[in-house]
Amino acid sequence: MPHQCTNCDRTFDDGSKEMLSGCPECGGTKFQFRPDGFDGGSGESGAVDAGPTDDSGGTDPVAESPPEPTDRPGDTVTRTVGNAAATVRDLVGGSASEDATRAKPPQQTAGPASADGRESPADGGDDDIIVAESDPTAAEDTAQADARTQLVEPDEMPGTDGFDPAETDGGESTDQPADDDRSMADDPGRLADTPADVAETAETTTANAATDEPAVDGAGSDAESEQSVADEPDAERSVADEPDAERTDRPELSELRKELNDQFESIRVVEPGQYELNLMELYDREEYIIALQEDGRYSIQVPDTWRQADA
């Protein structure tokens, strides 16, 4: 069951197109990807959550995890989902990160250690994270990085010692399946969690909290964020507050869905006479497209095995 509705847990087979227009069961639009053989702990987002907990260490689990775990050879559906996720990331930019942040319950963000934990992945492995991320990364300039560096001084973090990794894990909520469900349920903008997603989340969130940088996402609470850098407890509050300010920036769900549909398409009709082709998808399809129509529909010739199955 590679795909699962995060709302009602209905599962969808590999290559299923049913979920493209929402879950037929509950109308939910959030799905998580569960490759065959997924064991719940070592999946695509398995290593990701450890990142925030490793706040004071030099190594960064986020950076060490593969940037695109979905890009496994021979698994095109995985790749497609990965592409879709990347598109969603591109589309929502910083606000996707905010969505993830919003998933964190307020009580979990209350401790200074939370900001601390979120800080370190970006700090420890900037280069790797930049590789993992797409466009939004570019928004982070040296000023932001500096601001973040200021924030992460280990001795500035009163809560570091008492920091509870489990708490942060729950807050990031992209690691274990149960957490996944929760975070995705709160987050309409996300389709599939990947380490890149989380890396972006960590970094952008940190940047928002620590700097007054409109280029990132135009957060309305930037001023407050900057102020809160000096005042640790406030910083936490600011992180928790920001998602609300971001909420209005999120693109329409319909746009996202359209973009996702496009990603799944073998052939995209830009306009009549102009087409973009997904060669890998065309190659992977069992059915064979034999006639295109101007409205983007096409006729296919299905394999005999499908007919037998239907009969």
Partner: protein, 213 residues
């Protein structure tokens, strides 16, 4: 349906040749648009059967349906190699009718050509998945071979473990650079030729016999 008839014919033909030395291998001629695939297919077919495969054109996407020439017998060193040649539409990731307008084509015709070309790419990819036993990959040696399409197709062919012969076509043109293609795909042997002029075809046939015989 033409396709099914063809398939049926193909199966019966295959059955009838069961007792021959070896079934003909189906060799797909692949490559980007305007690389000279049809020119090569016609050259091979004319040289060994006397018939052509399909019309050639300098306007891209002239071939929008895969065309087959079956039972092409190529003789090398007294040995016969029989292959079915499949000339496929040029593979690309974008088809834009405005490209055809530059060739004095009416918009309606250009849009139709574009649509058919897109269907052709889908067909070519489908054939690659299921219906070819080997690939002749034709590249225009005056063009940069480092493209997404070339990389992806060669990658797919390699992943299928299909024998592939890379041809650097259009060496009759001044801007031709065979070395650039060799550099792009060092893991494969590249053979140069001009399908249009018939240059170096002997070596091409040697290679076909060696790779697909």
């Amino acid at each position: 349906m033409g396709l099914f008839t063809e398939l049926k014919d193909s199966i019966s033909r295959a059955a009838s040749t069961l007792f021959s030395e070896e079934d003909p291998k189906r060799i797909g001629i692949y490559g980007p648009p305007n690389a000279g695939k049809t020119t090569l297919a016609n050259r091979i077919a004319r040289d060994w059967t006397g018939d052509a495969v399909g019309p050639e054109s300098h306007i891209p996407h002239e071939t929008r349906r895969a065309r087959r020439k079956e039972n092409v017998e190529i003789e090398r060193d007294g040995k016969k190699v029989t292959i079915d040649i499949v000339d496929t539409p040029g593979v690309t990731t974008k088809v834009d009718y405005t490209e055809f307008l530059e060739h004095d084509m009416e918009k309606d015709d250009a849009v139709r050509r574009s649509r058919e070309a897109t269907e052709g790419v889908a067909e070519a990819m489908h054939w690659l998945r299921e219906d070819v036993d080997g690939v002749i990959y034709v590249l225009d040696s005056t063009e940069d071979p480092f493209t997404q399409v070339n990389t992806m197709l060669i990658g797919i062919i390699e992943s299928q473990d299909l024998p592939v012969l890379i041809l650097a076509n259009k060496i009759d043109l001044e801007e031709s650079s065979v070395q650039r293609i060799r550099n792009a795909f060092p893991q494969h042997e590249t053979t140069e030729l001009s399908a249009l002029e018939g240059d170096n075809m002997d070596e091409v046939y040697d290679q076909i016999a060696e790779y697909f015989g």
